[in-house]
C-alpha cells in the first residue's frame, strides 16, 4: 500500500517544514514498511505480537455497546455543552455586574 505523503496532513506538515530542514529520517520520503521489509527478528516479533493479540478476551458488542451508551447518557447532565444550566456561570462571558477596581 503506497503512502502518498503529499495528500496527507502529515505530508502538508512536512512539505511545510521541508523548505529549510534536512531530513535524516529514512521513513519520511519512503513508502510504508511492508512485511516484506521487516527483517527476521522484526517479523518474529510481529508474529508473536499477533499471537498475543489473538488471545484477547473479546466482549460481545451487545454487552459493551449498551454499557458505553449508559455511561455517556449518565454523564450528559454534567456536560456543560449539553446542560445549559452549567454554563450560566460562564468564565468567558462577563456577568451583568461590573466591578470597578
Amino acid at each position: 500500500m503506497l503512502h502518498n505523503l503529499k495528500h496527507s496532513y502529515s505530508g502538508y506538515l512536512l512539505e511545510d517544514f521541508k523548505q529549510s530542514f534536512h531530513f535524516t529520517s529514512k521513513l519520511l520520503n519512503s513508502d510504508l514498511i511492508t512485511m516484506d521489509e521487516l527483517d527476521e527478528t522484526q517479523l518474529k516479533n510481529h508474529v508473536d505480537s499477533l499471537k498475543q493479540q489473538l488471545k484477547f478476551n473479546r466482549e460481545k458488542t451487545s454487552v459493551s455497546i449498551p454499557e458505553l451508551i449508559k455511561w455517556t447518557e449518565e454523564k450528559m447532565n454534567e456536560d456543560p455543552f449539553l446542560n445549559p444550566d452549567i454554563l450560566k456561570d460562564n468564565p468567558w462571558v462577563e456577568s451583568s455586574k461590573c466591578v470597578i477596581t
Binding site: I33, F56, P80, P91
Partner: protein
C-alpha cells in the same frame, strides 16, 4: 518454504483469526444499540475569545488541568502560555527549533514540553524564576509528533520513527519503547487510569499499549489513510480516531472493533485533530477545510460546526471541566468557544 515466508503466512493466518474472533462477538452495532437514544441537540457555539499573539501557523495546543491556562506551539518558534480567561499571555518560551509539532502541559502545571522535526522532546520548568529547559529527550530517530506527561517524572512520546516511548524525566532516558507500528506515529492518548495509551499512525492503524510492559495489546483497523488524531472517551472503554480518509471512527476496546464511523459525503477533507466533551457525547473534530465539525458520538450525526478560522484547524482541546472547546489554526489564532 523459507522461514521468512513461513512467518509471513503465519502472520496472515493470525490476522484472519483475529477478524473471525471479532465477528464472533459482533452481535449488534452502535446504530442498532443507540436506536432508542434521543439525538443530541444542535450545538451552536460562540467564539468567546480569540487569542492573538503567534506570528505563524499554530500546530498544537494543550490545556492545563487548572482549566484556565493553556500552552500553544507555533512555527514562529515559540510556546505561548495563555490565561484563557483574560486572553493574556502569561509566558513565552523561545524554542531552539521552530519546527515544532506538539506541546504538552504536565498535570501539575509545573512543566511543559515541545518537540518536532528536531526529533527531540524538550521539557521546560515554568516555575523557576526564569523558565528553564530541564531535559532534552534525545533518542527518537524521527520527528516528534506528540507528547503527553503522565506526571512530573514521566512522559510519553510518539514519533515519525514509528515508535512510541516512555521516558524517565529524572534520567532523561527511555524506560520503555513501544514497537509495532509500520508507519510514522502521529498521535497518542493516555487512558483515564493511565495504565494504557493508544497511538495512531500513518499505517492507518490505532494500537492500544500497556504503559508498563510495553506490549501492544490490541490493533484497531478500518481507516484507509493516516490517523492524525486519537482520544480515549472519558469512560476509557472506547477510543475515537480522526484520519486523512476524512472520517472519524469509534473503536470499542472491550469488543476489539469499530462500532461506528462519523462521515458525511459532503466532507472531503482530512481530520487533523479531535477532542471530546466531558460525557463523550460530543466529538469536536478539526478538518483541513478550516472548520471544526461537532458530531453526536452515539448517533453518528453532525450536530454543529465551528466556522471562523481562515486556515486549517490544526488542534482542538477541551479542558478537564469541559466548559469550552479551544481550536488552534494555521491562521495563527486560537479561539475559545462555548
Amino acid at each position: 518454504m523459507g522461514e521468512m515466508e513461513q512467518m509471513k503466512k503465519e502472520a496472515e493466518a493470525l490476522k484472519t483469526q483475529i477478524e473471525a474472533a471479532r465477528k464472533a462477538v459482533h452481535d449488534t452495532d452502535m446504530a442498532s444499540a443507540a436506536a432508542g437514544v434521543a439525538p443530541a441537540p444542535q450545538v451552536q457555539l460562540k467564539t468567546r475569545k480569540t487569542l492573538k499573539g503567534h506570528l505563524a501557523k499554530i500546530y498544537a495546543m494543550h490545556w492545563s488541568t487548572d482549566n484556565r491556562l493553556m500552552v500553544s506551539a507555533s512555527q514562529d518558534g515559540k510556546l505561548l502560555i495563555w490565561d484563557s480567561h483574560s486572553g493574556n499571555k502569561v509566558n513565552a518560551v523561545p524554542l531552539k527549533s521552530s519546527w515544532v509539532m506538539t506541546c504538552a502541559y504536565a498535570p501539575s502545571g509545573n512543566l511543559v514540553a515541545s518537540g518536532g522535526l528536531d526529533n527531540m522532546c524538550t521539557v521546560y520548568n515554568l516555575k523557576t524564576p526564569v523558565i528553564k529547559t530541564v531535559k532534552e529527550l534525545d533518542a527518537h530517530t524521527g520527528y516528534l509528533s506528540c507528547a503527553r506527561f503522565l506526571s512530573d517524572t514521566e512522559i510519553l512520546t510518539s514519533s515519525g520513527d514509528t515508535t512510541c516511548a516512555l521516558w524517565d524525566l529524572e534520567t532523561g532516558k527511555q524506560k520503555t519503547v513501544f514497537l509495532n507500528h509500520v508507519g510514522d506515529c502521529m498521535c497518542l492518548s493516555l487512558s483515564p487510569d493511565m495504565n494504557s495509551f493508544v497511538s495512531g499512525a500513518c499505517d492507518s492503524l490505532a494500537k492500544l499499549w500497556d504503559v508498563r510492559d510495553g506490549q501492544c495489546k490490541q490493533t484497531f483497523q478500518g481507516h484507509t489513510s493516516d490517523i492524525n488524531a486519537i482520544s480515549f472517551i472519558p469512560s476509557g472503554n472506547a477510543i475515537i480516531t480522526g484520519s486523512d480518509d476524512c472520517t472519524c471512527k469509534m473503536y470499542d476496546i472491550r469488543a476489539d472493533q469499530e462500532v461506528i464511523c462519523y462521515q458525511d459525503a459532503a466532507l472531503n477533507s482530512g481530520v487533523t485533530s479531535l477532542a471530546l466533551s466531558t460525557s463523550g457525547r460530543l466529538i469536536f473534530a478539526g478538518y483541513d477545510d478550516f472548520n471544526c465539525n461537532i458530531w453526536d458520538s452515539l448517533k453518528g450525526e453532525k450536530v454543529g460546526v465551528l466556522s471562523g478560522h481562515d486556515n486549517r484547524v490544526s488542534c482542538t482541546g477541551v479542558p478537564e471541566d469541559g466548559m469550552c472547546v479551544c481550536t488552534g489554526s494555521w491562521d495563527s489564532f486560537l479561539k475559545i468557544w462555548n
